[in-house]
Symmetry: C2
Subunit: 203 residues, 2 copies
DNA sequence: GGCGTTTTGTTCTCCCGTTCACAAACTCCT
DNA sequence: AGGAGTTTGTGAACGGGAGAACAAAACGCC
């Protein structure tokens, strides 16, 4: 998030910023920001602030977005389709190298300039492009099978959009994004606001 | 998540479950699950466990998914398109009542059985359907403007997919989903695994 | 009815992230 | 050169979530 805020500041022509400004851009407390940055090193100057470009590079280097990460997406339904076309991935160092779907009827489709290929091609694609990150955008019932297969081919990081809990071996990273859970959380607070107005919570 | 796990258990024909089983289904620790459920009340029976259907109803009632929530989606790009078609919303008590886009050239399109309408229709639609939840799927630069306009029309909960920090008045709930941040987090751990193997972290 | 077994509800403790507060360090102005 | 004003980096306090552990309660068996 800091990296993104810094990029925004750089585009506005800002060359230097204080922790207060950067924290406001990123939507966090300035003390937290300073402490977070202190884990990377002392890249600021007391009395002055941070050099936007310098700090931007240091964070980018630390989190590893200086290199290009090949990614495979499995499950080309509505969501997979959107992810394949999502320009934010490309611009942040991720390259979608293949789209896979178990449904053979989708094999003729071409999405975002890529052919939709059979899920059976996973091994070959991972080997060819040295893929370590996989995205699961399948229905919930298929997610665990896909994850198992991914792990078997050597993928060690999984981004799961399916609403199911994945079990993977130690050493494999999983992050889950659950779209309807997010809406449910909002609806919950909405309901509470309606029941007892005045005790709202900004989170 | 517990609600989803319970629904899964109910579909499998399970009528009763222990905190251990339910926790495994939801992917959490059983002590945490029991503590979470205790905030809602004492819906379990010691020595027996929880009645799946009864607990499912209690949670659903508490979080407010027993009612139907009308939702508007603004920004019908790839992501908005996918969200409009996403079946998970409908099945969890959310009804997409309108799709809005500022680009007039999209007005002819029909997505997921709904016409894409002008962003200017926001006020009328919110008033007509009593909408309190809005979804922002626009580019980052437009997100704040859309949020301001939403708040002005009376929307009090926003789900933001744009990679930007929204500032909203007190009392308005915002949740943010940032797809590329998730990938970046995975890539970061991936990079660390490559640098110092053996100190991997399961989170 | 009483005892052993099972499982919940809850307390206690630990740990980690967040925030406050302040010393150190740097700049600018006189 | 020196002091006033800023701003970073960090030690200390705070708060809250998560797990371990245990008492209370329900069931079943004898």
């Amino acid at each position: 998030m800091y990296l993104r805020a810094l990029t925004g500041l750089a585009e506005d022509g800002t060359t230097t910023c204080s922790s207060e400004e950067l924290a406001a851009s990123a939507g966090v407390n300035s003390a937290k920001l300073r402490k977070d940055l202190s884990y990377l090193g002392s890249y600021g100057t007391r009395g002055v602030g941070y050099d936007v470009e310098y700090l931007r590079y240091q964070i980018a280097r630390e989190i590893g977005v200086t290199q290009d990460w090949p990614v495979v997406i499995v499950g080309i339904g509505n969501l997979g389709h959107a992810l394949a076309n999502y320009s934010g991935f490309r611009s942040r160092g991720f390259r979608v190298v293949a789209l896979l779907d178990a449904d053979p009827s989708r094999k003729d489709e071409k999405v975002a300039g890529l052919d939709v290929r059979s899920f059976d091609d996973l091994e070959a694609i991972v080997a060819e492009h040295d893929v370590s990150i996989g995205v699961i955008a399948t229905p919930a019932v298929a997610a665990q099978d896909v994850a198992d297969r991914m792990v078997a081919t050597g993928i060690t990081s999984i981004l799961n959009f399916a609403p199911s809990v994945l079990s993977v071996p130690e050493g494999v990273g999983v992050r889950k994004v659950d779209l309807s859970i997010e809406l449910q959380i909002l609806a919950y607070h909405e309901q509470r606001k309606a029941v007892s107005p005045g005790s709202e919570d900004a989170s």
